[in-house]
Symmetry: C2
DNA sequence: AAACGCATATTGTTCAACAATCTTTCTTGG
DNA sequence: CCAAGAAAGATTGTTGAACAATATGCGTTT
């Protein structure tokens, strides 16, 4: 499916008044991008998109501004708006954020919900046995969001979800990415074991090791997929 | 100085083309707010501001959208845009972010620059002896930004500077705030001593204590200033 | 004094136009 | 034939005006 087909396949607004049309535009595009229907590098033409969405160019631009802070598009002055295509530097940035926030949440977060983490792991295990990779990926994302929620900060949670959204773009850009998620189930599980034993600092250190490993694996796969 | 006076005192653009006019608008307003010329709660009228800045309403709105992600304005649908007036919940949120990011940066940040921290403390001490509170506040902010820079993440640094910008709003809202900065110089100094001794984890714990104390002091002062 | 309704003002959105900048194509000279 | 440069075309950046939707303020009524 190419870009112009996407344009026409995006459902139009139903004519009812949205709280903010620009907000609706942003969330619509966010969803299209998150689900991989708009691939990294695609150009988002103002004229084509505004008519496809049934909004004016001005309103579309306001939506672009909103998405810009979501890190999933890149605006190049006088050139246009493109779906972000993460590179190695972006991957390193993503993991720099995660290496800071997530271990801190495990070590010191005042609202750590171990039962919830445990519950999510159960779901992931079920998904793994059913062979449902999408569900496993969802569970993995939930797991890490729950960790960040322990900080009690809405801003950190928001930053984390933006970072995870960009992470999805990385996977979309590397369509032949192997199944990174499956062997993280047991890792997450051992994290919960440590937490249940009250060893929060050790859990934080362990998570850092995991994140380092994951980053290296992703970078490795990215480099080799760039050579082709 | 009331709001309408502010409008006319904002310097107009020089007619030359800015890279992005909306970006220029946002940074201009950001500065006005940061320096306390636009106080928390002030309404930012589209008509008045657009003519005062010499830009169209559409462009001003794009600027508003940019500022919205900066946390220093609040947009109320069909009501308008106001300079954010932080409340107790905002203060708690600010410190939830700081308690997570800053100790993590001290404990694990790969790019910790102890010499730079030490240099900044020197400046703060000089400012304290000269009795220059503004310079002390600047040095304090620099100190904490340098800490976050140790994470190696641009996004975390950006979030931190947004949080510190909102922090300035808190102080502007409490015009009679006592001098919170002066007794933090020695605290920062003892942090650097711990770091120099290689005791990063102890420094992280100490910083958390400091942040908890500061949050409690601020909340206390906020509550009492609300009663009047 | 409280509640209602109307006039007014402000924000939300669209449209059409033009300026600024980039991209493509075509010409020209070597 | 190829490279450099100029003109033409397309896209983004910004503006001003217009209208709809919503909120505000003010008088009237009870």
């Amino acid at each position: 499916m190419n870009v112009s087909e996407i344009y026409t396949s995006i459902p139009l607004g139903d004519g009812s008044t949205h709280a903010h049309t620009s907000t609706w535009v942003a969330s619509t595009l966010r969803q299209e991008i998150a689900e991989g229907r708009l691939l990294p590098g695609s150009k988002l033409s103002e004229q084509a998109l505004s008519s496809a969405l049934g909004v004016s160019r001005n309103t579309l631009r306001e939506g672009f501004t909103l998405l810009d802070s979501d890190l999933i598009i890149s605006r190049i002055p006088n050139r246009g708006v493109f779906v972000a295509s993460p590179d190695a530097a972006d991957i390193r940035e993503i993991y720099a954020v995660r290496r800071t926030i997530e271990p801190a949440a495990l070590a010191w977060g005042p609202k750590l919900d171990i039962d919830e983490l445990s519950r999510i792991i159960g779901q992931a295990r079920a998904a793994a046995e059913a062979g449902n990779i999408t569900l496993m990926a969802d569970a993995n994302q939930q797991f890490h969001e729950t960790i960040v929620r322990a900080t009690g900060s809405a801003h950190l949670l928001e930053l984390m979800s933006r970072v995870l959204a960009k992470m999805r773009l990385v996977f979309h850009a590397m369509s032949d990415a192997p199944d990174f998620h499956s062997h993280y189930v047991s890792r997450n599980s051992s994290l919960v074991d440590l937490l249940s034993a009250g060893q929060r600092m050790k859990a934080a250190d362990t998570l850092q090791d995991y994140l380092n490993t994951a980053e290296a694996e992703l970078l490795d796969h990215y480099e080799s997929s760039q050579l082709r």
